[in-house]
Amino acid sequence: MTTLTSAPEQAVPAPASASAPRRRGRRARKVTSAGPLTHVLLGLTALLSVFPLYWTAVAASKTNAELAGTPPPFLPDADLFTNIGRAMEEAPIGLAIVNSVIVAGCITVGTVLCSTLAGFAFAKLRFRGNKALLGLVVGTMMVPTQLAIIPLFILIAQLQWVDHLQAVVLPTLVSAFGVFFMRQFLSQALPDELLEAARMDGASTLRTFWSVVVPVARPAMAVLAMLTFLTAWNDFFWPIIALTTENPTVQVALAGLGGGYVPDTAVIMAGTLVGTLPVLVVFVVLGKQIVGGIMQGAVKG
């Protein structure tokens, strides 16, 4: 696993001292302008990326017969709102959105906090066994979800947490990626001198964390928060085991909607649209930051 984590680091040597403008100047020389063909190919890819999402809105407003017509329809119509209303009746999508906001919000706050604390310790504090513990964290990233769900299910059944949101929140707070991400950031961004200065000033360890570490860590915490929220909102496997459609997250509600008891495709598509829209709106607003965050170093959830 160590080879895994070190490999991409080698791929991207850290130009830590290079100032932004200098770097841009260097890139401008290197990078050739794109020709029309490049724009066409990229435009086509962008279209393919966005089209299925747009099609959800079209399919949500048409009957099956209309969808199969030649040429097929390419604009949604007013039936969209009727079908959204029907989808909200068939599946508790309003409740699901509220639940997803609560679940993803709690997971985000908890994960960012735990990851920053542990990431700081692994980056800057030397304590006995720190290397072994970090190895354990990194190794966890390749363990499949399947390996944990049977005992977790038994556990939440015994605690009578099935259908309660904490059953989804608590196990999902464990983010090995978050710890590793914060560690990598802080070991470079936080100078030892700063910690030493805080200690000289007589700041307690906790005080040092809040007044020195957190301000430095803030950009990375923001990136981690965005990625964690997205992953938590879209999480599928554990929520469909821990929750039922009685008290679902969006993904559980969508799985129920697509699970066969609604025969009308337009209603399923309408539900999909409503369930996906909140995160897509957030994505359009914060898209640039999320792209930047992933390019700085993201790993599949």
Partner: protein, 329 residues
């Protein structure tokens, strides 16, 4: 896992103003020893490790324990020790081999095109580009879409009678395809969903690595008269090898666990992966064993087998990386 602080802008923004003049050597030594003996480290990692122990480590071990027992979901306390019985039964089970085969073929059908397209896209995105933020954000939209939403939409698009894809096929003179019922067609359709969701994401990972390739290499290649394509093949791709290996490993870990797409693609929420199990993956089989047939021991054995498969893949990747590192030295 290219790292946050590799971006000079973030590092610059985050780095505090230069602090006091460099401490004398003795102070540095004292500081190091102070940091070395910092017991506060345990307090900082404690919140993570308490959660980790309760919700990861304990379940992993308990799953191993369960995999050696015959356990029913209805009677968890009535576990009977069967040794490696669940594993030997699994290896003799045709459903296991079917699921393993399906996981492999869907894994190849989704990972290979996904990474190849991503590499090409990253190359295009690396040109000086008008509207580059737009292209990047648009390409990442599928990543922001959930598995459930993506699968429901694509199940509609691949529908036999009303799906847009069949409508288009018919318009250009082909017959309608029953995507869901065929083995290859259903696996291709599921692979399309996976590819759609992950290609843009991987393109951005490759793009980040490409931007770190030193310009001198390209200048030298240009002087040698290399065309753009040759530069891509002989400069870009070799420089990206560690990143490519990394994305292969991450995609493979994802492919072994594939679950949501085959579960929802059927349109009836069944765990069988089609009427003849034509797209039942290992993830789906495990869920089927545990939550449809209530045989937890079998499901746990399948889960551990999946983990062992991942370990083998990661081990092979590690060997390749180490051998290359040695060759370069």
């Amino acid at each position: 896992m290219t790292i946050a602080s590799d971006d000079p802008r973030v590092a610059a923004a985050a780095a505090p103003p230069p602090s006091a003049p460099p401490a004398p050597a003795t102070a540095a030594r004292r500081r190091r020893s102070r940091l070395t003996r910092n017991r506060w480290g345990y307090a900082y990692v404690a919140p993570f490790f308490v959660l980790f122990a309760a919700f990861s480590l304990y379940p992993f071990l308990y799953t191993a324990y369960i995999s050696l027992h015959e356990v029913r979901l209805s009677d968890i306390d009535g576990a009977v020790f069967v040794g490696f019985g669940n594993y030997t039964e699994l290896l003799q089970n045709e459903f296991f081999w079917n699921a393993a085969r399906n996981t492999l073929t869907i894994g190849i059908l989704s990972t290979v095109p996904q990474l190849a397209i991503a590499l090409g896209l990253a190359h295009l995105l690396n040109y000086r580009l008008r509207g580059r933020t737009f292209f990047r954000v648009a390409m990442l939209m599928p990543y922001a879409t959930s598995i459930a939403a993506a699968t429901l939409v694509f199940a509609q698009l691949f529908g036999h009678d009303y799906g847009l894809i069949n409508t288009l096929l018919e318009a250009v003179g082909f017959d309608r395809i029953d995507w869901e019922s065929g083995t290859w067609t259903s696996q291709i359709a599921i692979s399309v969903i996976v590819t759609w969701r992950w290609t843009g994401y991987n393109a951005l990972i490759y793009l980040a690595a490409m931007q770190a390739i030193p310009n001198d290499l390209y200048e030298a290649a240009t002087l040698d008269g290399a065309s753009r394509w040759q530069q891509f093949l002989h400069v870009t791709v070799p420089a990206l090898k560690p990143t490519i290996l990394f994305t292969i490993v991450v995609s493979t870990i994802g492919a072994v666990q594939l679950f949501g797409e085959p579960l929802l693609f059927s349109g009836n929420g069944m765990t069988s992966g089609g009427v003849s199990n034509q797209y039942q993956t290992l993830g789906l089989l495990m869920y089927d064993q545990g939550w449809t047939n209530f045989r937890l021991g079998q499901a746990a054995a399948t889960a551990w087998t999946m983990f062992l498969i991942i370990l083998v893949v990661v081990g092979i990747a590690g060997l390749i990386a180490r051998r290359r590192a040695r060759a370069e030295r």
